[in-house]
């Protein structure tokens, strides 16, 4: 009886988890495409001819939980070791979402420089990402 319940839970988790993930990736890609024009770097390069008018701190964050199926796969994987693909997509989603939120806050800026990404785990199978950087506004 318990085993049956576990199997049903895993199946439900797998279905909902992959639907949510697919939708999320789709929306991430759409928004990333929209921001393609804006330079966004992790160093502090500002062109020598650029006249900076203003700078501002921008941040974005995201907390994402893994579904039970992913946790199950991850647990299975850590017996033998190796790459846990199920978790890779989770961290990828969280990071890209946080970066996107940060860049959306700087949507009128000419570029975002000196971006840093901060990662931490809150509880079991929940990841938390903060992306922060400096939005640079150039003189027109």
């Amino acid at each position: 009886m318990d085993l049956l319940f576990l199997i049903i839970l895993l199946i439900v988790a797998y279905i909902t988890g992959s639907i949510i993930e697919k939708r999320h990736f789709k929306s991430i890609m759409e928004r990333e495409a929209r921001l393609l024009e804006q330079p966004f770097v992790s160093d502090s390069f500002i062109g020598p001819d650029d006249k900076v008018e203003n700078v501002r701190l921008v941040m974005g964050s995201c907390v994402i939980a893994a579904d039970r199926f992913k946790v199950f796969l991850g647990g299975l994987r850590s017996i033998f070791g190796g790459t846990i693909t199920a978790y890779e997509s989770l961290t990828d989603r969280a990071r890209r979402e946080a970066i996107l939120r940060m860049r959306q806050k700087a949507s009128r800026a000419d570029m975002v420089v000196h971006t840093r990404i901060q990662f931490s785990e809150v509880g079991k199978a929940k990841v938390e990402v903060i992306a922060y950087g400096t939005a640079v506004y150039l003189e027109k």
Partner: protein, 106 residues
């Protein structure tokens, strides 16, 4: 209180005229039971934990505000080289820590 915040080592186009050393701000928050309950549901089906994200946003803002106040108290008008750090103190409580260098620019 207008303070320029940046993750750069400089404030572009502005000369730094005085250095006040490091300023910090931190806050520890926990989510309420309702949010925690929702989070455990989400842990079955997957997806974003909006309540946690909001909480994180709030605490980040608070930490930065405290850092700004400290910089203001020292007489600075900008904080450069800002870094953020998070850590989970216990289950359900997390700390956000912001630090940077307070300076005075032209």
């Amino acid at each position: 209180m207008k303070i320029i915040l940046t993750t750069l080592e400089i404030v572009p186009n502005k000369a730094i005229i005085e250095h006040y050393g490091i300023v910090t701000g931190s806050t520890v928050r926990s989510k309420h039971v309702g949010r925690d309950l929702m989070a455990s549901f989400k842990n079955i089906f997957g997806g974003e934990l909006k309540g946690y994200t909001e909480l994180l946003d709030e605490s980040r803002r608070e930490a930065i505000k405290r850092m700004m106040q400290q910089a203001h108290g020292k007489g600075g008008n900008a904080v450069i080289n800002i870094r953020l750090a998070t850590s989970s103190v216990s289950a359900g409580a997390s700390e956000v820590f912001a630090y940077g260098t307070a300076v005075k620019v032209e």
